[in-house]
């Protein structure tokens, strides 16, 4: 017989695999039961008024509860630039951990060319030990040439619209409107589920150099 614990875990790596709800595995049995009870209650209400915001809010609350646990990295202080340039004069780069890359420039994670999304999900623990690879994406890339693969989150949102997490098009609009001075020629993306030690010790200075070469003033960063 399937237990509640089996049920919770089945969304992360089991027969119900759905990364939208992988957070279930981080909830206690009582929390998971409360979440489902409240979800059904809200669905019942929404059947009468057609409003879905309460459903989204409930999912966000569940994810927040699941991911609110002692942080692994605690820093007492950090670097801070007092930025004084007007946005209309600022050159901005986009960098995300969404796992985007340009068609024909597959980073071939774990040495596997054209890895499927499903394989990335199945091998997520191996990704967490890997050195991250930064993909370079020209800002005028047509959406049809933009690819995404990341085993740590549900990519259906970015597949429906890349700008839900990789807002290159939105930044281009803001550049055209003059809201920002310039969007850097290249945007960057990597799979955030990677070795944090390799990220800190082996690649970050290379990444700084890439952005410096573009002479950017600021970077918009988007984790997933």
């Amino acid at each position: 017989m399937e237990t509640l614990n089996d049920f919770k875990n089945s969304f992360q790596n089991g027969n119900r695999m759905d990364l939208n709800f992988k957070f279930f595995s981080h909830l206690t049995d009582d929390e998971a039961a409360d979440f489902i009870e409240e979800l059904l209650a809200r669905l019942g209400t929404s059947l009468n008024d057609g409003r879905l915001e309460r459903i989204a809010e409930h999912i966000v609350q569940g994810q927040t509860r699941a991911y609110s646990r002692p942080a692994k990295y605690n820093y007492e202080e950090g670097p801070f630039i007092r930025f004084r340039k007007n946005l209309s004069e600022t050159k901005i780069a986009l960098l995300t951990s969404t796992g985007h890359f340009l068609e024909g420039d597959d980073p071939a994670p774990l040495g596997v060319p054209n890895m499927s999304q499903q394989e990335a999900v199945n091998r997520i623990k191996e990704f967490l030990k890997e050195k991250p690879v930064l993909s370079t994406i020209p800002k005028n890339t047509p959406v049809t040439k933009l690819k995404v693969r990341h085993g740590g989150y549900d990519i259906s949102g970015v597949q429906a619209d890349q700008d839900t997490a990789f807002p290159l098009n939105t930044l281009s609009i803001l550049e055209q409107q003059g809201h920002i001075g310039e969007l850097a020629q290249f945007a960057y993306s990597f799979v955030g589920a990677c070795s944090q030690e390799a990220l800190k010790k082996e690649v970050q200075q290379e990444w700084v150099k890439l952005l410096k070469q573009q002479d950017v003033d600021a970077a918009l960063l988007v984790p997933v």
């Binding site: 927040t64 990295y73 820093y75 007492e76 950090g78 670097p79 839900t164 970077a219 960063l221 984790p223």
Partner: protein, 92 residues
Amino acid sequence: MSVGHVARILEDNGIATVIIAVASFKDNLESMHLPRVLLTPFPVGRPIGFPNNKAQHIRVIKAALNRLNNVTDPKTVTTINEQYFSAPSSSK
């Protein structure tokens, strides 16, 4: 966490940063003492907003970019007042 580390190293090398992240990541991001973070009350995987709601995406990104020169103290984490299913009516 990955993007938090990137923010720290970029800022340390003279490139100002602002992060847009879903509110569920608040605790982890706050603990990393990051320069500027805008949280969105959206589901994981959709930090900028609902697919194809361009007006919402513009509002979120403008709010984040405005933090670049509005924030005068580090470790400023704020949450934007948005609804995930908001109508695509205005980019403000």
